[in-house]
Amino acid sequence: MRFSRAILLLVVSLTLVSFAAPAQNKKRGRVAKPRPPLPVVAAIDTENLKTLLKESRQKPLLVNFWATWCDPCRDEFPDLVKIDSDYRGHSLDFVTVSLDDFTDIKTSVPKFLGTMNARMPAYLLNANDPEPAINAVDPKWQGDLPATFLYNDKGEVVYKHFGRVNATELRAAIDKLVK
């Protein structure tokens, strides 16, 4: 009798375990759901930044300078991502240049871009002294962030804005070039 009770206990235990196991697997499966990879942020030095901005190109180029520590930069980012998705494929290139610390290139910068679903090519300025880069972009720029520049296909600045962008104004400037 004691033996059969032990058998019964074993069967009940095994049954419970067999029910529990798939549930655990399911739970694990939910946790392990593949996340989209973080955007790749490329380092760019001052010389390459100059080349990127000034060269002649097939399409107009929009460049946004930003940093994760800059409140208005984070605030305007959804507008920029929307502009990128609306104009991508309509003859506009768009790149972002982060001025975060170089050590953030694989951490907070791609993480933020990932949360924003930003798909434009992303760079981070690798320069110990930022002054040559600021002057190369615009001698009148003091380095305040954010700053947004629109270049035509000849590499000339046709629109610039310091501080949080006004999306309507920026779109109007882009429309003049791409339509």
Binding site: D71, N128, I134, N135, L145
Partner: protein, 201 residues
């Protein structure tokens, strides 16, 4: 003939308007800083306790450093220790350091609490309505102006080249003060760095 003249005049007016409009779009809203060598006029602002203070009463015997600072800006905060050290190091040399907070998002109470928490002992003025920031063309934090004994602008720009203290290669503000104190010409009168934009009213 008269019609042609009217037409030409109208075309000139339209062309002028187009050029003017493009010009504004390109220039943005950046206030212009006084030229190096220009005299900065006296101004009065309240300190964090609401007491009106004039530049003329706060200025140092041998010069004055005005630094636009912020409570929340991480770049400005990275310089707290360096700014305090600057004030301490140059006090005996007759140089006064004055902080100015022009951010509309940070009130006097927040500025006072921040200074206390970060150990900033130099005078900090609250520039409500960013009047002084506009007058000096200040756009970011931190941004420094060094005036000589007669309030002439000697240096304008960054404190040094890197917010990370271990990467400093150019102590531009200190170099300008030292040269001025030694009666030598300042080699680099302007220098730039990235910073948080001043939140104007």
């Amino acid at each position: 003939m008269r019609k042609v003249s009217v037409l030409l005049a109208a075309l000139f007016v339209i062309a002028g308007l187009v050029i003017a409009t493009n010009g504004r779009a390109l220039e943005g809203e950046v206030p212009t800083a006084p030229a190096i060598g220009a005299t900065v006029d006296n101004f009065t602002l309240p300190d964090v306790d609401g007491n009106e203070k004039a530049l003329s009463s706060l200025k140092g015997k041998n010069g004055t450093v005005l630094i636009f600072i912020s409570v929340q800006c991480p770049v400005s905060n990275a310089y707290n220790e360096r700014m305090e050290k600057l004030a301490q190091n140059y006090k005996a040399k007759g140089i006064a350091v004055i902080g100015i907070n022009s951010n509309s998002t940070e009130d006097a109470a927040a500025v006072k609490d921040h200074a206390s928490a970060k150990g900033l002992t130099f005078t900090i003025l609250k520039d409500t309505g960013n009047k002084v920031a506009d007058k000096l063309g200040a756009t970011r934090t931190p941004e420094a102006y060094f005036l000589d004994a007669s309030n002439k602008l000697v240096y304008h720009g960054r404190i040094d080249n890197n917010q990370n203290a271990s990467l400093i290669e150019a102590n531009d503000l200190r170099n300008a003060i030292d040269a001025s104190l030694a009666g030598k010409p300042v080699e680099k009168t302007e220098a730039k760095a990235f910073g948080c934009s001043i939140k104007r009213a």
